[in-house]
Structure formats: structure tokens, C-alpha cells
């Protein structure tokens, strides 16, 4: 279980904008293990979606990976030609997004969209592909697969559309599924269905999941390991038990205290003073320093990655 599938090292990414260069990722270090679920958690603009897209080398226009390394099964993805990446996308690494009505094509039926992906990556007869498409719709637990195959996305509810995009993602036996806020737009009861489905698919098909989310509670329930992102850096990472229940980094602690939970009723929510840095100025020291209640002079210099124990790391001087 603990063989690394993806290893990201010191990934740096910049966006060129009218306002100047935005430093979106400032040295991301990540490991995703085979058949594991890694949560990538952080607030708006921390770089979590861009990290997911970078692994597929689908960086949006204006963005550029300036340095770093992304190893997939030991192969450096950043050196590979586009044709190689086209084989990786969909077949080895697949992705689902927050809004399935934006990621599905409204002009094609569900069947056409699943089959397009399969024909791109697999050699099989038409009838065989149709059979597998039906099978996939059954795997994602959509009722009446033959009918769903002929429907257009607008005929389906949000939860059903997310199941369809999941079927497409799984159609070619990917080893890694990048799920970018897959349940954020869904109702709670439907979210529970999709999370449950993801959990069972991981067990049945052995697919590793990179779960990108802003919701700590989703991480607590879905993931085994978690990386907390702040201003384009991994500030704390390790097993969920350690990071969410014995948090070391000030931002992780503050985020947990800002999250309402059932046991905290009657107490007040602790707001985090200050705002997230814009990314326009490169940050020399600890990114959370200006907002940190435990700020020290040494925090003006970039903090080292400290191992709290064998699996739990934190970028903070306090634990050196």
C-alpha cells in the first residue's frame, strides 16, 4: 500500500497577469501512494486546483511550471512530450471536476461521451465498447443504464451527472483519480451517496484518489492522509489522525477552530485575523507568519520541512 504512485517535488508555478507575476505554487511537495486517498485541503486561491491540474500538465493559459518534478510511477512527467501526456490522461490519471454540467458536453449523449474516451485509449469492437459502457454505468450505480446511455446531460440531475463523469474517468482503468471538489455543488444527501461510491470504488478497483476540497470534514471522513495548502505551499502533511486531530501548524489549527462542529455549539468560532497573501509578491519567510499568533523573528526566513514523526511533517520552526 505504501508504494508511491506520484511524487511531486518542489513544484513552482507562476501565472502572468496584467497585475504582474502571481506566484501560485511555491515549492509543492506531495506523495500519493498506490490505492490511497490523499486529501488536498485549503481555502480559495491556495493553489489546490492548480496542483491537481499540474499533475496532468493541464495548466490553464497564462500559467507556467517554472521548476520542480512530478514523478508518476518513477517517470518524470515534466520532460515528456505532449503525445505521451495524451496517453497518460484518461488512461492512467483521470480527473473529475466540481461542476459536472461544465465538464460534460451538452451536445453529445452520455453513451457517446463515455465511448469517445474508451475508443481513444483502447482497441475494441464497437459492440464490446458499448457493453463496457453499460457496465460502467452500472458500476457508478445509475439506474437503467441502457436508457442513461441515450440521454443528454441536461436530462440528468447534478448527482447523476457527477456519476457519469465518474464513469468516464474510470472507463480506462486509471490508477489515479484526481477529484477536484467533486461534491461541493451537491446537496448533502447526494454528497453522501457520491462519497460512499468513491470509497467503494477505491476498494473494488484499487484506484488511488487525490481528493481536492475546502471541507475539512470531508477530508476527515474520506482520506487516510492529508496535505494542507497555504499560499501555494504544503504547510503540514501526514495521516488524517495526526494532521486534523493533533495539528501542529498554526494555520491548520486556526482553520480547525474556524470550522463549526456539533460539539462547538455555544462557543464562539475563532476567526483568523488578516487575509491570505495575494501571491503578487514573493514571500521570503513563513507564508502564515504575518497572521500567526506564535510569530518569531526567525519566521522571516523560509521555514524548513520538519518531521514531527515518521509520517507527519510541518513547515514550522517551532518543531525543529
Amino acid at each position: 500500500m505504501d508504494r508511491p504512485l506520484v511524487v511531486v517535488r518542489d513544484l513552482r508555478l507562476e501565472f502572468r497577469t496584467y497585475a504582474g507575476i502571481v506566484h501560485a505554487l511555491n515549492g509543492i511537495d506531495l506523495e500519493i501512494y498506490e490505492q490511497d486517498v490523499l486529501g488536498l485541503v485549503g481555502e480559495t486561491g491556495c493553489g489546490k486546483s492548480v496542483t491537481g491540474l499540474s499533475i496532468l500538465r493541464l495548466v490553464p493559459r497564462g500559467g507556467e511550471i517554472v521548476s520542480g518534478s512530478i514523478l508518476f510511477r518513477g517517470e518524470e512527467l515534466l520532460d515528456k512530450p505532449d503525445s505521451y501526456m495524451q496517453q497518460v490522461r484518461g488512461a492512467s490519471i483521470a480527473m473529475i471536476f466540481q461542476d459536472p454540467s461544465a465538464s460534460l458536453n451538452p451536445l453529445f449523449t452520455v453513451g457517446q461521451q463515455i465511448e469517445t474516451v474508451m475508443r481513444r485509449h483502447q482497441r475494441a469492437e464497437k459492440r464490446e465498447i458499448r457493453r463496457r459502457a453499460l457496465e460502467l454505468l452500472e458500476v457508478v450505480e445509475l439506474p437503467d443504464p441502457p436508457r442513461i446511455l441515450k440521454t443528454y446531460p441536461h436530462e440528468l440531475s447534478g448527482g447523476m451527472k457527477q456519476r457519469v463523469s465518474l464513469a468516464i474517468a474510470l472507463s480506462c482503468g486509471a490508477d489515479l483519480l484526481i477529484a477536484d471538489e467533486p461534491t461541493t455543488d451537491l446537496d448533502v444527501t447526494v454528497q453522501a451517496q457520491i462519497l460512499d461510491l468513491l470509497r467503494r470504488l477505491r476498494e473494488a478497483q484499487g484506484v488511488a484518489i487525490l481528493m481536492i476540497t475546502h471541507d475539512l470534514a470531508v477530508v476527515a471522513e474520506m482520506c487516510r492522509r492529508v496535505a494542507v495548502l497555504y499560499a501555494g505551499r504544503v504547510v503540514e502533511s501526514g495521516p488524517v489522525d495526526a494532521v486534523l486531530y493533533e495539528a501542529k501548524y498554526s494555520y491548520t489549527q486556526a482553520l480547525l477552530e474556524a470550522s463549526p462542529r456539533r460539539s462547538s455549539r455555544g462557543k464562539s468560532l475563532r476567526a483568523i485575523p488578516g487575509t491570505v497573501p495575494s501571491g503578487l509578491q514573493p514571500i521570503a519567510g513563513c507564508p502564515f507568519g504575518p497572521r500567526c499568533p506564535r510569530f518569531m523573528e526567525v519566521c522571516e526566513q523560509s521555514p524548513p520541512r520538519v518531521n514531527v514523526d515518521a509520517t507527519h511533517t510541518v513547515a514550522c520552526y517551532l518543531y525543529r
Partner: protein
């Protein structure tokens, strides 16, 4: 600021502690009608909802998308006209009130919307936004309005220097606080908060919620808090009404709803909500399907097709809201 004469006397006639009383509120929308299509579909967005909100308390309304929770809020203010029912505010029947008196009463009831990026006019300065209600409803001079705007901004934890800035210069959390400042401009007694933090990050949500709770204490405000987030509703509310397809299925104190839910839908909602609390991360009750189309609701109890405890008569007879003890209301056929 002084409240209107009429509402003053109404207040005296209505001595108990209920500020807002809603009875059998109904809102039906027509869809797909028009010149060529004779039979429009009727969507029962709100289908007979009743509740009271006590002074200085918070009632939370929770439900999934399309359940009618936003429509309930807007019907109370008559931002949309209810089809039927009764809404009284301080004992005055809102729905019978002619325009002028309605406007007069509306000074005391305000609303904060979900998305501050669309609810604040990008072409107005903060002074314009926060000062507009004062301009409409009072005879304050420009200088007085400016002073009051500065005071309101400070009340929501922002610097008074911001009054000449425009919405694009602020973050989502700051904008939402400006929206709260605008709502507070006329010293209202009652605030409808319609998903006020749904568009915000957790840390910013914490700022806004903490601010709202502090203001409630300081200004003796009454809140109707509408949200899909159960954990958050539990955190801020004194009592909670759970809404499914235009009807209240359970209504009780916040703690009763959480500790002793009686309706299977409430149970399922609670169970489906991901939690950071370890002891709540157990086996889930996972409902099949989604919320049915409100244009074509299931017969009998609208929840019966998804209900794990459905019996034969659940598809025949819609259960009424019944008190099962100490004001804990549940709409479910007894076992």
C-alpha cells in the same frame, strides 16, 4: 431611530414574545404556461408552512436545494407575493398591508443575501450602499448619513475610511459585512439571513458568523437563518425547522433536532453531513435518489419514496405536523 407610530401600537397589542408569526404560508409558481400552452405546471414551492419566531431568538431553516427555504424568506418580506397564508410581524398582518404601510414596516425587517458580489451594486460606493436605506426612509442630511455609515461600518468590524470605496475593492467577507451594515442601517428588529456565508471560505465564514452573533446580542436582533449547512444552522440557531419539498417535516429546539431527531429525513440529513467530530463519523444512512421534482411531488408523504421506514399508508396520506412532546413537532406517521 424611532419606529413608526402604527407598529408601536401594534407592539402593545401583542404582548407575548413572538415577533414573526407565519401561518399556512403557500407559494405556488406557474411554469410553462402562456399563450400557446393552456395548462401551466404548478410548482408548490412552499406548501403550507407555519412557525413562530420569538424576539431575540434565531430560527434556522434547513433543507436541500429546491425545498423552498429561500422562497419562505422572501414571502415573509413580501419580496414575492405569497399565494395564500398569513404573516404577522409584531401582530400586524403583513399580507393585507397597503404599499405605504408595508414600506414603513419593512424598515424593521431586512435581509442579507447569499452572494454579496451580486447583491451589492458595483457602481455604488460603500457610502451609497449603506446610506441608501437612510436616504429612502429618513430625512437625514448628507452629513448625518455619512456619520451613520461610518458608525455602521465600525459596528460590523470594518474601518470607517472605506465609505468612499467600491465593491470591487473588497473581498467576499468584507462585502458580506457591508451587506450586513446596510441591513442594520435602519435599526431593524428582524433580519433574514439567506445563506449569508455559503459563498465564503471557512475562515471568513467564522468572521461573519462571529460578527452576526455579537450583533444579535448587542442590538437585540431576531434572526431567520436559512442554510443548507446543518452544522452551521445548529451552531447559530435556537430552534430549527427542517424543510422538505415545501413543507416543514420537523421543528424543535436545535439540540433536540440534533440529539433526538424524529423524522427519518432529519436523521438522514444529520447522518449524511460529514463531521470533524470523531464520534459522529459512524455508519451512514444513505438515501437513494435526489429531491423529487416539486412540480410533480410524490403522493402522500413527499418523502416516502426515499424513506427507509416507509409503510403502505405513507404513499396515501400526507402526515400533519404533530407535537410529540415539549413542542417537538414532527410530520411523520407513527410507527
Amino acid at each position: 431611530m424611532n419606529r413608526g407610530e402604527m407598529s408601536q401600537s401594534a407592539h402593545a397589542d401583542h404582548p407575548d414574545d413572538v415577533l414573526v408569526r407565519v401561518r399556512n404560508l403557500v407559494k405556488h409558481f406557474e411554469q410553462g404556461g402562456g399563450f400557446l400552452r393552456r395548462n401551466p405546471q404548478i410548482i408548490r414551492a412552499v406548501d403550507g408552512v407555519s412557525f413562530d419566531i420569538e424576539r431575540r431568538r434565531t430560527l434556522g431553516i434547513v433543507g436541500e436545494s429546491g425545498c423552498g427555504k429561500t422562497t419562505i424568506g422572501r414571502c415573509i418580506l413580501r419580496l414575492i407575493e405569497p399565494t395564500a397564508g398569513e404573516v404577522t410581524f409584531r401582530g400586524v398582518d403583513m399580507l393585507q398591508l397597503p404599499g405605504r404601510q408595508l414600506r414603513e414596516l419593512r424598515r424593521d425587517m431586512q435581509i442579507v443575501f447569499q452572494n454579496p458580489f451580486s447583491s451589492l451594486d458595483p457602481r455604488m460606493s460603500v457610502l451609497g450602499i449603506v446610506g441608501e436605506p437612510l436616504q429612502t426612509h429618513t430625512s437625514m442630511s448628507h452629513g448625518e448619513i455619512r456619520d451613520r455609515a461610518v458608525q455602521l461600518l465600525e459596528q460590523v468590524g470594518m474601518s470607517g475610511d472605506h465609505i468612499y470605496r467600491y465593491p470591487h475593492e473588497f473581498s467576499g467577507g468584507q462585502l458580506q459585512r457591508i451587506a450586513v451594515a446596510r441591513a442594520l442601517a435602519l435599526n431593524p428588529e428582524f433580519l433574514i439571513l439567506d445563506e449569508p456565508t455559503a459563498a465564503l471560505d471557512v475562515s471568513v465564514q467564522a468572521q461573519v458568523i462571529a460578527q452576526l452573533m455579537e450583533l444579535q446580542g448587542d442590538l437585540e436582533l431576531t434572526y431567520l437563518f436559512i442554510s443548507h449547512n446543518l452544522t452551521l444552522v445548529h451552531f447559530v440557531s435556537d430552534s430549527i425547522a427542517v424543510v422538505y419539498l415545501g413543507k416543514i417535516v420537523e421543528h424543535a429546539s436545535a439540540d433536540k433536532i440534533f440529539d433526538n431527531p424524529q423524522h427519518p429525513y432529519t436523521e438522514a440529513l444529520l447522518s449524511a453531513t460529514p463531521s470533524l467530530d470523531r464520534e459522529l463519523q459512524q455508519e451512514r444512512i444513505i438515501l437513494g435518489g435526489g429531491v423529487p421534482d416539486p412540480a410533480n411531488p410524490p403522493s402522500g408523504c413527499a418523502f416516502h419514496p426515499r424513506c427507509p421506514r416507509a409503510k403502505d399508508d405513507c404513499s396515501q396520506v400526507a402526515p400533519g405536523l404533530v407535537d410529540v412532546g415539549e413542542g417537538h413537532l414532527v410530520a411523520c406517521h407513527p410507527e
